[in-house]
Symmetry: D2
Subunit: 360 residues, 4 copies
């Protein structure tokens, strides 16, 4: 069950970096929705390697094919299976890594758990696994927009020590996509790109923070106990590779406030909907969405694979050193932006269907 | 399904603050384990209100009764049902709140979702719901200790702006329990107690950070994709009331490091087990435990209920003000320590059984 | 997870025959339904031992207590926990059985699986476990009646070789309850009672067939692949103790018909609903309810516990003989009628909520 | 969630009869097992249409491709995705059926549930959906054989009114495959083939009964309450198209026996394993396997699609008549044999992993 996510809007992914292909089944998409497969492709293009000078140079021509669940651009209510073929396999590039466990990568734990590794390159731990998530998330986004007018948008907020000051109400998709680092603060984006290039030239890598907003979410999503909306969002984004932290609303910084400073006062509205003067809650109270924008942040560690020489052991447990050959990916965050959006959209879509079923 | 957690070690909680009782069913505890119900009671005593001068004065005499699953202190492999009767109901205390939605509390979202509220006091959103979690967690702890020698221990790391400097390898349960704020740094603990008392006297509240360590975890727990160990831990603790953030290992701070600084070098070991020079990974790599201590932190916002007057609306949508009467709970963190331990233990217990089943 | 059933309308049972009590949590009952706890008690009274001269003489005063999820007779949308205390424990009665495995009972397999037995009487294999199911089913029935006008009714169709000829459209609850064997054919019922008494006097036992009808089911329930409505119904009733077979609609007998004889012709209706001339399909086509009455039958084997001497082994594997002491239960079917209704109602309730969630 | 089956050994199928392809993801197959993809293909060949003169003439060249989860014939512990391309789409053949609902087929209920139909031919209700099940079942069979020496074998026991008298201990796969009707009683097989041909020439169809045995099953599989082994087997086979009944062991016939006749006496064994003199229990007692062969039977109704003219309605609710054009499939049972084996193997594989996880 470890490769499935969600309950009523449920996805199951498959595929290693070096098998025949990767993909996903989306089970539970309601029938009679307009689904644009080109919008799925567009999301995959946002996550693919080689899209700019600051990502890995490995080019992947990730063309998605929908095998089922759609007819003439309309959902049938049946599972939507989507496959992307593996083309750029080049197992030779990883030969050295097969021998030595890459520090802070999944090589060693994977070997200890399964006693066998998918061909070098990480098996299911490969970033290529996220193709299925992004494709499924693109379906979830289309459902949310059609049924609820909901928008999910993420951006890079910090790279290494460079943090942009962004009001979550402002960025548009166009602003995010206007530069290759996906930071809607254009001036800061330029600095970030320079920083990534500089760190990459040194053979090193960096991390940072991605912020995500959900605009016009349905009110009432989430359950009051274990399946709180923020809990499911936390699991969703923390299941992405390289994540080290999650915040909702005021997050860690909010813990230094007093209750009188942190509480979000309710304001009267003309239509009886909920509205708060501030949004320290990040759009969720008691595990349930209150209709305000949902705002969350995700911490990504620096990429594990670097060209600098590192101490490690090989599969026989002997000390050795390791340095990745060729160019590497100095910063995963620009490509992780659509992944965060996808995981957030999947949680919202699932809870929207659960809300219909359980509180109808 | 929103009141269940886990897969093979699965718990289902029930109960509102003002019904007949609260409790939990633990389904999946392996047979023939020694289970001490007094150890369950001891954990409940750590979470109960009224245990010290810095918590809510509301006294609850929470006596747990095990209805099934145990015989002469041994688990039968069948569901362990545990119930705690509600005694101190006093619905009158909350009369005013029934009318006005408490800011940043679950009142308003709960009403919007269910169209009905459990009698005032929060229904399932009540902190009293966590009794079932703590009781179940106490079973999980006993299982982990017996089968794997694993220890789960949490403590208060920060209250408001007062942060203790604690090496996660050092604290013992005795040290944590040696003061009422549950911070193993005795000098800082005194300051924290004063701070909480002072804020409480002002009718205000504060939050902070709890840190948790898992010592001697089994290697190989966690799945490589959605059910990464850190993802399930994130969901587990973010499902506790008042949480706003989660970190594993280096967390948000680690995102300002370079890859060469952040990577944990593997060191050779005599027995072939994995061991790393540093532990920025927090004991988990690629979603799978590597045997190093698991270290995580949880952000808790300041308690929503305060005595200071606040702007809000009533259930009819009209503007009003609200100030809690009587004494309130100025800081939830000391009582949340056993809750964090419980949720972490539940995740570990579940993944330990999954590991036996799937990679056995 | 083995003690839970259902997805959106999900129940979890607990309890052995000789612990503190047995019960159930119903998670997912929608809010704001009128729930009559006395109707739950009435169903439990239908299943309790000692209710008539043809069942086990063991009297159980099974009073149900609802601990949560209800307020003033209205559902809150939160888990409904119900408990029945164990009173008539008398473990001494089973002493001999503790030593010798009862043939065709769960004693031996239970021991082989868990390596430990709940105190004599069968642990979770006890018929007493069905108390939780019947209580939960009584909630499901009330939900189905209120939301959809649906009725679930079962009766005894055959005892040993005595089969009643019953048109499923005819029986009422009053007719079923008008005699102690719960067969709505009064003349046949008398013969059945005599047969059970006669077999019981011989120290032997008998089985038979229970038939169940669902009147006015919602159209569109069930999923087209694994979660076909008849598949979930089959699992539901085959999880009851002593069941050996399941049929839907024409069942095994229908397999001797030709397609031209078996197919149910569609008839035009004034309101566009589906209606068929015959109902060999038993109300379900392609796994999905078509609005016609759902008709199913369940085979129950003769009760395993008898007073006649039998060959068996003891827990040490040595040959021995066994004969139950005192009076025994010669026929479980009259008490199993409410159990079948409960399981069928639980499946319908779950699929009704899934239909709302997934096809809206 | 309706397109997934199993818990630890979990499969998810996808695909309509007229989309790009059909297939399955197998999630939870343990690592390091030898998996022969040609054995998967062999099972698909047993289920494919056009394999003999007594099945549908529609030829499908169903070549399976494994996209992931395997490397050099060894399982990686990751999801095994298998796809079969659709080639023989010919939507034109079904034009007439698009207009008129086929009696006792899924057309009408499908339309009422989803409000949209996959292109004519039945969408997910198509028998083509079972390709994914059979492929997954072939993986489960290989796992069961390697880990436990378990064999799963099914055969046709009855066609229309022609019933073979078969001792479940005797048939081999070779005997089953020695004739096109898959009945190991050669003389009866010839009669069955003649009967099917005769009924087919009349434009009609017939059903029957398939019997399945599991030899050398692990002892201790199954849970004592809802997830009884026979309950999960019932759901598994009743989720196959055209099934109307399920029996385990003595089944419906056994309900006419007395307890003293029906109980299976335990015999002493030299190795402490369980062994019974008779096997009316069908290898399962109290929901848990006792090590004796598991024996079950499945009722299949006559195929719904026939060439004889039938009364029905069209999608507008108007009365009309319908007669399938061209050749049809007069009897589905020979091709359903591998489907039954697949579903049974999937249940056993899942419970084998659950047993490892929960009872170690």
């Amino acid at each position: 069950m470890g490769s499935s996510f969600g309950h009523l809007f449920r996805i199951s992914t498959f595929g290693e970096s070096h098998g025949g292909g990767v993909g996903v089944i989306v089970d539970g998409c309601p029938p009679r929705l307009a689904i644009d497969i080109e919008a799925v492709q567009a999301e995959l293009d946002r996550r693919k390697p080689g899209q700019s000078k600051i990502t890995t140079p490995r080019k992947e021509d990730d063309r998605v094919e929908a095998l089922s669940g759609l007819l003439d651009g309309v959902s049938l209510g049946t599972p939507i299976a989507m496959v992307v073929r593996n083309k750029d396999q080049r197992p030779g590039d990883y030969k050295e890594m097969q021998v030595a466990f890459r520090p802070s990568h999944a090589d060693a734990t994977y070997q200890s758990k399964y006693g066998i590794q998918a061909r070098s390159g990480g098996g299911r731990a490969s970033a290529r696994e996220t193709i299925g998530r992004v494709a499924a998330g693109a379906i979830a986004k289309q459902m949310l927009r059609q049924l609820h007018g909901t928008e999910v948008l993420a951006w890079v907020k910090r790279i290494h020590t460079l943090e942009a000051n962004i009001d979550p109400a402002v960025p548009t998709l166009d602003a995010v996509e206007s530069n290759i680092v996906r930071c809607p603060d254009a001036a800061m984006a330029e600095q970030m790109i320079e920083r990534i290039e500089s760190i990459g030239r040194d053979g090193d890598s960096c991390g940072g923070v991605i912020e995500c907003v959900v605009r016009r979410p349905p009110t009432g999503l989430g359950m009051p106990v274990f399946d709180k909306l923020e809990a499911d969002l936390a699991k969703a984004v923390m299941s992405l590779p390289a994540t080290k932290g999650f915040e909702i609303g005021s997050g860690f910084a909010g813990t230094t406030l007093l209750g009188s400073q942190h509480n979000d006062a309710f304001l009267p509205t003309s239509d009886g909907s909920l509205h708060t003067a501030t949004n320290n809650s990040g759009g969720i109270q008691g595990g349930i969405s209150n209709g305000e924008p949902i705002v969350l942040r995700v911490a990504f560690k620096p990429t594990a694979t670097i060209r600098k020489e590192q101490q490690t052991i090989n599969a026989s447990g002997e000390a050795t050193t390791l340095a990745a050959k060729g160019r590497h990916d100095p910063c995963v965050l620009p490509r992780a932006v659509p992944m965060v959006e996808a995981m957030v959209a999947l949680v919202l879509a699932d809870h929207a269907l659960r809300q219909r079923g359980q509180c109808g």
